[in-house]
């Protein structure tokens, strides 16, 4: 069993079979995190480099735990974003990395396409942990694993993704992955936060929260970044929350057994009301647990290389 490519750069070109393989493998990995000794020797002697040019504690920690539970040597290589200029310094970084002979490089970068450059230049397997606003495939995979776990299937489910879609790589990867798996995706948000022609990706677009979450099996709320307010994308946080926040009142339009998701970190009271975030329909914490399992699955499937 193998993935069709040496890297995971995004979900846009990943097939249904490959996604199923990753999810099935991740499921088997979940059990390891419940053992007393949370370690298996599978990637012993393999080197995993976490190259986080755009800082992140949560995703980086998740990858670090995943690698260590597989007995890999995980090295965190973080650089301040200001020292990277377009593609040139990335190439130098790539050559430096190559001389360390890593097996897998996990990269998060503020420039879309940075993982793709590394994938071309290096023999190592590259995992995209988020490139600009482009893709964040491991998040989408853990989201789908979480949904499949709770609902027993993916095909035919209706998912609503609400928030600042245009700046969200999480939304993009989920759109690619979920449409591939036969789910129907409804996008909700203010018009200035939804890219034009998004319907071309096979989703429906709604500017009212009610329309997006109508009869949804899954509602995924995205984090509103306060910096966007400074750049006048919306007048005020309170106004955004008034129209697009998921609260006890608005959630009623979705199905009774709806599950609530959020990639984190949540802004309580902004895109999601605290009682919903902590309520019985919320699977936000399960998403985090599944994140480690999905990343272990990817390191397992991609690591090892060819000999």
């Amino acid at each position: 069993m193998k993935l069709g490519h040496k890297d995971l750069l995004g979900l846009e070109h990943v097939s249904r079979e490959e996604i199923s393989l990753i999810l099935d493998t991740a499921e088997s990995f979940k059990e390891i995190s419940t053992r007393r000794i949370k370690k298996v020797p599978t990637l012993r002697g393999k080197t995993v480099i976490n190259l986080f040019v755009e800082p992140s504690t949560r995703t980086r920690t998740s990858f670090e735990i995943a690698g260590k539970r597989l007995s890999a040597d995980v090295i965190n290589f973080t650089t301040s974003a200001s020292s990277f200029v377009k593609g040139e310094t990335l190439r130098d970084t790539a050559q430096t990395l190559q001389s360390m002979a890593p097996d897998i490089i996990v990269i998060r970068h503020s420039a879309a396409g940075a993982p793709h450059i590394l994938a071309r230049l290096l023999q190592a397997s590259i995992i995209n942990a988020g490139d600009g606003a482009h893709e964040h495939p491991t998040q989408a995979l853990l989201d789908m694993l979480s949904i499949r776990e709770k609902k027993g299937r993916l095909e035919g489910l209706k998912v609503a993704i609400v928030g600042d879609i245009s700046h969200s790589r999480v939304a993009r990867s989920n759109i690619f992955g979920m449409t591939t798996m036969g789910m129907s995706v409804a996008i909700g948000g203010p018009p200035m936060m939804i890219p034009r022609d998004l319907e071309k990706l096979g989703v429906t677009v709604h500017y009212r929260l009610a329309d997006a979450i109508q009869d949804a099996d899954v509602v995924m709320m995205l984090r509103i970044q306060f910096e966007r307010q400074a750049s006048s994308l919306f007048p005020s946080i309170r106004e955004y929350a008034r129209f697009y926040s998921l609260t006890r009142d608005t959630i009623g339009l979705a199905k009774d057994d709806v599950i609530i998701m959020h990639p984190g970190p949540i802004n309580r009271g902004v895109e999601i009301a605290p009682d919903i975030a902590d309520g019985p329909s919320s699977i936000i914490l399960d998403q985090v647990t599944n994140g480690v399992a999905v990343r272990m699955a990817l390191l397992y499937l991609l690591g090892g290389g060819t000999e």
């Binding site: 069993m1 193998k2 099935d24 493998t25 499921e27 088997s28 990995f29 059990e31 390891i32 053992r35 007393r36 000794i37 370690k39 298996v40 020797p41 599978t42 597989l70 397992y300 499937l301 090892g304 060819t306 000999e307």
Partner: protein, 178 residues
């Protein structure tokens, strides 16, 4: 050149082996106190179930039974481009202080058992580990030997020994493919 199939044991023979092994386990351990049975995925699962049922009928107590997937402990993972399909390990009980009877259908090089023991030690500290197999086909590459054997079947390296067990025991058989 087609495959030559020889049936070396039929359903009845298999049933008798399992029964004898169950009695041997019981005798060796003076009962079923602290006994647990772990079947190695995939060939040992049904066998472990059958043994567990048989021991339960003989002893009158339920024996905790689990499934161990050894894929992550294999010593041949790093070669080749594909990865074997990972299955689930289900051991919902503690192994500390227990007598673990590892069960597999065929023992060959012994590497699977080596991997299984490494996995078990990561789970806890069994009092003892014993090994039950239906077929010992020889060609060991590691110093590992089973405590309970259904049948010793010396084989050639180019032969394939296949144990076919199904949930309905009437169709069981053991064959050698050439």
């Amino acid at each position: 050149m087609g495959k030559e199939l020889t049936v070396v044991m039929d359903a009845q023979g298999i049933e008798r082996c399992i029964e004898r092994i169950a009695y041997e386990i019981r005798e060796n351990n003076e009962g079923a106190q602290d006994l647990v049975i772990i079947g190695i995925r995939a060939g040992g699962i049904l066998l472990a179930d059958r043994l567990s049922t048989m021991l339960r009928d003989i002893e009158g107590t339920e024996i905790p039974t689990g499934v161990l997937d050894i894929t992550l402990y294999r010593d041949d993972l790093l070669s080749g481009t594909g990865k074997p399909k990972l299955g689930k390990t289900e051991i919902p009980f503690s192994l500390d202080g227990k007598i673990v009877v590892l069960v597999d259908d065929v023992i060959f090089t012994g590497r699977t058992i080596r991997a299984a023991m490494d996995a078990l030690i990561d789970f806890g500290r069994p009092k003892r580990i014993q090994l039950a197999v239906l077929i010992d086909r020889g060609h060991r590459e590691l110093p590992i030997s089973p405590d309970y054997v259904g049948k010793s079947l010396p084989s050639s390296l180019w032969e394939k020994v296949v144990v076919e067990l199904s949930p309905s025991p009437g169709n069981d058989r053991i064959i050698i493919e050439n």
